[in-house]
């Protein structure tokens, strides 16, 4: 128990001293998570809207597939993207492997089904009168869908935040595609995994605290926006 308490004390001192290794991991984590959630939103929100607002054959199967994709293990996505960006892969020449860009691609693929599913749920839960109302007031299809998006913005924001929560806390993709390179691709979660395997708890605990603080901060911002 003393060992854990001592580790906690050291972790707090690392945070207060703005330890360079810790700051680097936090920056990398936030950078790759932010970009991957932007990409996931650009893909996932239109997918959710398209599935929710149109009727097409095998729609149920597509929804089931989207649901299933939410449960895909991170290591599987890591493996898949690794196959594409490794030297022997079709995109090997781009030199993406073990770069933040590779993590961003993997994390975006991880978060897209989450954002798409939650956006789809928002669309299906929206009042069915929104689109006809916007259209009868003279809106084009595009303007009416924008109006719908505005009406369900909190559901969409929740989708994006869930996607962010997923990627900022995952370790499989970051480890496999980033390679946990100090100063380049080392994220909060890969540092925690590495330090724990070395028996060094302090830095891991410090980053765990920061991870929790990030999650809390994102949710507080969401709550404030919702209240406005």
């Amino acid at each position: 128990m003393d060992y854990l308490v001592e580790s906690l004390k050291v972790s707090l001192s690392l945070i207060l001293a703005l330890d360079p290794e810790l700051c680097q991991a936090v920056r990398t984590s936030l950078y790759v998570s932010a970009w991957s959630v932007v990409l996931a939103s650009l893909m996932g929100i239109p997918i959710g809207l398209a599935v929710g607002l149109t009727e097409f054959p095998f729609k149920r199967s597509v929804i089931t597939l989207l649901n299933s994709m939410m449960a895909v293990p991170t290591v599987l996505i890591g493996l898949l993207v690794y196959g594409f960006v490794s030297r022997q892969g079709p995109f090997g020449g781009l030199g993406l492997l073990f770069t933040p860009a590779a993590i961003i691609i993997g994390d975006a693929l991880l978060a897209t089904p989450i954002v798409a599913n939650l956006a789809l749920s928002s669309v299906r839960g929206a009042n069915t009168a929104i689109l006809p109302t916007a259209m009868t007031l003279g809106g084009t299809r595009f303007q009416s869908v924008l109006r719908l998006l505005s009406e369900i913005r909190f559901g969409i924001m929740a989708a994006v935040i869930s996607g962010f929560g997923r990627v900022v806390s995952e370790v499989g993709v970051a480890m496999m595609l980033g390679g946990n390179i100090l100063g380049s691709t080392r994220t909060m979660t890969t540092v925690i995994a590495l330090e724990t395997s070395k028996g060094e708890f302090a830095l891991g605990i410090a980053l765990g605290l920061i991870l929790m603080a990030v999650a809390l901060a994102v949710n507080i911002v969401f709550q404030i926006l919702q209240r406005r």
Partner: protein
């Protein structure tokens, strides 16, 4: 008066169920037309077609003498002349002002002109000064009146009303009746579903009656398919 709508062999199915079947119906421009019939008789379905929101399964709709092509680009222009007020109108999140501004902004109206039109339409429905109110915090009657003001601000050529007096308080009903009665003088043709016998249009015989999706032949003017 020239016909504003003409329907030929129009049907509308929901899955296997036939919701509407109209061999011929001509609606002249001007005045107030009531659309009556029991629940499930196809009134709202017909209004949806006349509002260019849902296409018929088969048949042809003519608007202002021209055949309606159910293509998005041409429908947008038509919808800017014909506005439907739903039975349970949906007010967008935000202020009453923002709700009324939506359709005006789409039509390119800006600044003082837009603001003036919003205030004028609110005054018409007896809700002057309500612009800053939160739309979602209004009572049922106020909601219906704001939705009516939102439609009136657009000065539509045809206003379709689906049970505008359902679920409103007595004061709101008095205002809505008076506003509807004055619309033909402003150049707006009104077609409305209602069970209220005090609404203008219910009393002067200009009634389109539907039963089980078909035009009723109980009245002479409907038997000819012409109102």
């Amino acid at each position: 008066m020239a016909p504003i709508f003409r329907l030929e062999s129009v049907t509308r199915h929901y899955g296997e169920r036939l919701a509407l079947e109209i061999p011929e119906l001509v609606i002249e421009e001007g005045g107030i037309r009531s659309l009556s019939g029991p629940n499930g008789s196809g009134k709202s379905t017909l209004l949806g077609i006349l509002a260019f929101l849902s296409p018929p399964t088969s048949g042809v709709l003519y608007y202002d003498g021209k055949r309606v092509e159910w293509k998005e680009r041409s429908l947008v222009a038509l919808r800017r002349e014909v506005t439907l007020l739903h039975q349970s109108p949906y007010l967008f999140e935000g202020s009453v002002h923002a709700n009324i501004a939506f359709g005006l902004g789409i039509r390119g109206m800006r600044g003082e002109e837009k603001h003036g039109r919003i205030e004028e339409s609110l005054e018409t429905v007896g809700l002057g000064g309500f612009g800053h109110r939160r739309a979602r915090a209004l009572s049922g009657g106020e909601t219906q009146r704001v939705a009516l003001a939102r439609a009136l601000a657009l000065a539509p050529r045809v206003l379709l009303l689906d049970e505008p007096l359902a679920n409103v308080d007595r004061d709101s009903a008095v205002v809505i009746r008076a506003v509807i009665a004055g619309l033909p003088a402003r150049g707006t043709t009104v077609i409305m579903t209602t069970h209220d016998p005090d609404v203008p249009g219910c009393s002067n015989g200009e009634v389109i009656r539907l039963e089980e999706g078909r035009l009723s032949r109980s009245r002479d003017e409907v038997a000819t398919g012409r109102t």
